[in-house]
Symmetry: none
Subunit: 250 residues, 2 copies
């Protein structure tokens, strides 16, 4: 899936940016980089900045024109600052990824085209694209480093094509937790115990309880404790009820 | 809104990364950068890589410890590789941004914490956080450059806070809560008190603490207590240390 995505860099002037782009791509699982008429070469600086993504640099495709770079692609999206002379279909990075996620299973190759460090893509180049994509930015400081722009787009591509169906927040609700969550009955036992311990130590006056237990319930239920956490809390409550004096030692 | 977000870089070794981080932040409209015990200095290389974001570098805050960096923050999220010894609530960048978008209108300061270039954050540092965030990556090449990671998180923050206006459920992070959230420093005071009370009652053996305090930190940080809840818990701890015997009555 991600193998059908081509990152296309036009007239890049800094080899460090080519290396950083390769690293960002590989981090996200992309592998196909095309350089259009590059000014920089793939040198030591590029390899160093790629920080282990030299394989992408070794397989880089270098072509003289953007037309040639995108010739085989069914969906071509050019990165663009917001306003252009002629309006063009303008996508957010997320919409762009959604479009790619539709196009790729149908067998299409997809190109994401990035312009020069100094001034992006020309209008002529942008007009070769099916659509444009604009990364939302601070309007007073809107020019992203090209490798950072590639990072953001590649990240959205990964989310749409690889991670999407991933179950939302794992946290303690999810599968990667170490102990099962406490049941409602176990929590109830905890609160009964807590109330008694608070009465025993004189912290809770059963005649004027106010909101104390309600606030404690809210706190612990919100955290959704697991079984070991409930055990720890009950151990604390027991110690509170029958403290072992310091020095008594076991 | 974005002014309440602090990007916190721990022990950064390359000044170029500090500059690239500043640029990425400013592109997304963020401005507050904190360096914790940095190894690199803000030098010419940093300024050059910031490419016009020198204002952020000039206002950088440098502090000796992570605790100091996050002391005033109501929501602290640390970047992490997926698996850790004790599981912690784990967010995607998008979920993290949604949480921040709930917390910020309620007046909370938010910290996003990024680790060393070589090996990220330590478990100890990660245990100071309310939650962790993991940027989805190629499992065979998962280490993002730190400035790239800052780019991705800052991008999601901008989408959630400026571009989107996502509202979702408020919960304790949001505006419909009755008391402000406890700050990190207040939580820290709670944990210090808790540890002492547990030692006093003989529940915690300081010579073999095992994971007790880590598990308790995880539980309470996950719940993100508000100020009155922290007061209640500290009252309970005080009662635990000096129980008033039943019948003694006021």
């Amino acid at each position: 899936m991600l193998g059908q995505i081509h990152i296309v860099m036009v007239n890049t002037t800094h080899s460090g940016n080519i290396g950083a782009a390769a690293r960002a791509m590989k981090n996200m699982g992309l592998s196909r980089l095309t350089l259009v008429d590059p000014i920089a070469v793939v040198d030591e600086d590029a390899i160093q900045r790629s920080s282990g993504a030299a394989d992408i640099l070794q397989q880089v495709r270098i072509v003289p024109t953007l037309e040639e770079a995108i010739a085989g692609c069914g969906l071509v999206v050019g990165t663009s600052a917001r306003s252009r002379h002629i309006p063009w279909p303008l996508l957010t990075p997320r919409e762009c990824a959604a479009k790619a996620a539709q196009a790729i299973p149908a067998g299409n190759e997809v190109a994401l085209v990035f312009g020069r460090e100094s001034r992006g893509l020309t209008n002529e180049e942008l007009h070769l694209c099916n659509a444009h994509v604009h990364i939302p930015t601070n309007p007073d400081f809107s020019s992203l480093n090209v490798a950072q722009a590639i990072q953001v787009l590649s990240y959205e591509m990964r989310l749409a094509l690889v991670e999407d169906s991933v179950a939302a927040d794992a946290g303690q609700w999810g599968v990667e937790w170490d102990y099962p969550l406490a049941t409602h009955a176990e929590l109830d036992g905890l609160f009964t115990h807590m109330e008694q311990a608070l009465i025993d130590t004189g912290f809770l006056d059963p005649n004027t309880p106010k909101q104390l237990m309600s606030r404690l319930r809210r706190l612990y239920q919100r955290a959704a404790p697991d079984k070991i956490e409930v055990n720890i809390l009950r151990g604390m409550l027991a110690a509170m009820q029958n403290p072992r004096k310091q020095g008594e030692s076991s």
